[in-house]
Amino acid sequence: MNSETLKKTPLTEVCRASGGKMVPFAGYEMPVQFASTMDEHLAVRRGVGLFDVSHMGEVFVTGPDALKLLQHLTCNNVEKLKDGQIHYSGLMYPEGTFVDDLLVHRFNERKYLLCVNAANRDKDVRWILEHQTGDVQVEDASDRYAQIAVQGPKALETVQPLVDVDLSAIKYYWFAEGHVDGVPAIIARTGYTGEDGFELYTPNEPAPRIWQRLMETGRSFGVVPCGLAARNTLRLEAKMALYGNDIDRTTTVLEADLGWICKLQKEDFIGKAALLKQKEEGLRRKLVGFEMLDRGIARDHYPVFVDGRPFGHVTSGSYAPYLQKNIGLVYLPIEHTAVGTPFAVEIRGKQVAARVVETPFYKRNY
């Protein structure tokens, strides 16, 4: 795909002008890093960072039967959501595997916003429309929204001067409708970094101005613009799954160790039968976190050996800039998933020792 066929987000040009090294990602031209992935990662752990996440998809599901449809399509229990609350969930195939992972925002009983992966947006919308029943409307609003993620322990103080709502009143995984720099916005206390933070859904046109304003209000906290590379290492330290790497059409929500978003006691939903069966029969493999014991960085797709035999590959692997360790995620046979279990990752032809560790690798303590 050449740069002419790539889509731009409302912030692509701002990112380029700020020194972003631009790459194609999910059909968009996105910054992979600005000055330094390491500095960006650490700024988010210690202060605050800004991410253009406008590529993410926004899909509204509205109408009297919206709740019913989402209960049928996703594995978490949408009935439990209160107005203004958000949860992480999975859009399920009948096999209990992932069409996508997503955030479900409840405005009220008849209005929900789904935040979905950019690369899956068209597939998700098709899937939802194929299963649409009753009085419900599905709108792909992605092209109407810019999205800025403000992440880090200083995110609240960075955003607060620009908004007309009391951010301290919004709990983690809740949202409010308000204004950012005078512009109507959805202000969600969510993120993909393992830090506190906000994801601001704004109209396209004022997004570059809001970005600049956040760079100003965050200045005393050392705010930096952050690219996809830092977003990836941050989410990996927090053991947040990446669709296409750690979860996909071949991995069930239970195998992905996401049982906490899989509410098998709720009414029937797509994938429930398969997941109940898998739970009864017992898992044969599970996603675990690991760290390298010997020297070497495990990277995505590197082959894995258990007891000397090949078993799949690393789904996500990297140097962890905050932890200063080489970490990763991998599906291992269930009998090899206990913390401490040794196995090997093949790095350029050599088997290098690794072991299963507790996750998340990083947990914020505030």
């Binding site: 330094s36 390491m38 590379a229 990277r299 080489n326």
Partner: protein, 129 residues
């Protein structure tokens, strides 16, 4: 930036030859492209390499970059300091961040490497693409 006492490769390695021994590392340009280096895989001393063989690798948070032997010969030293201080490659790419030393088996191979002027011209060409 690029010393006349060194020779350079298209893969962005430098070589300094003294008494039939070639000390090598990655160039300033290469380390700048990679960003912060967090891991260096060093060659084993005693290993015999042909020019173009993979000698080791240099890794940033995001990327892995192989380091190739610019010349043929036996590895007679590796910079063990890089095991604990890979950032030396960023800080002193042409000095303290050297990666390995090879005893040349065929001095004529040096003729195919670039001079500092040639390398800078090559960098200029690469930039245009």
């Amino acid at each position: 930036m690029y010393s006349d006492d060194y020779l350079y490769t298209k893969e962005h390695e430098w070589v300094r030859v003294e008494n039939g021994e070639a000390t090598l590392g990655i160039t300033h340009h290469a380390q700048e492209e990679l960003g912060e280096i967090v891991f260096v895989e060093l060659p084993e001393v005693g290993k015999v390499l042909a020019a173009g063989d993979t000698l080791g690798s240099v890794e940033s948070v995001k990327a892995v970059s192989d380091v190739y032997a610019p010349v043929s010969g036996e590895v007679i030293a590796a910079n063990d300091l890089l095991a604990d201080k890979p950032e030396l490659v960023n800080q002193e790419p042409h000095g303290g961040g050297w990666i390995a030393r090879i005893r040349l088996s065929d001095k004529s191979e040096l003729d195919s490497l670039m001079s500092a002027d040639d390398y800078e011209a090559y960098l200029g060409e690469e930039k245009k693409h």
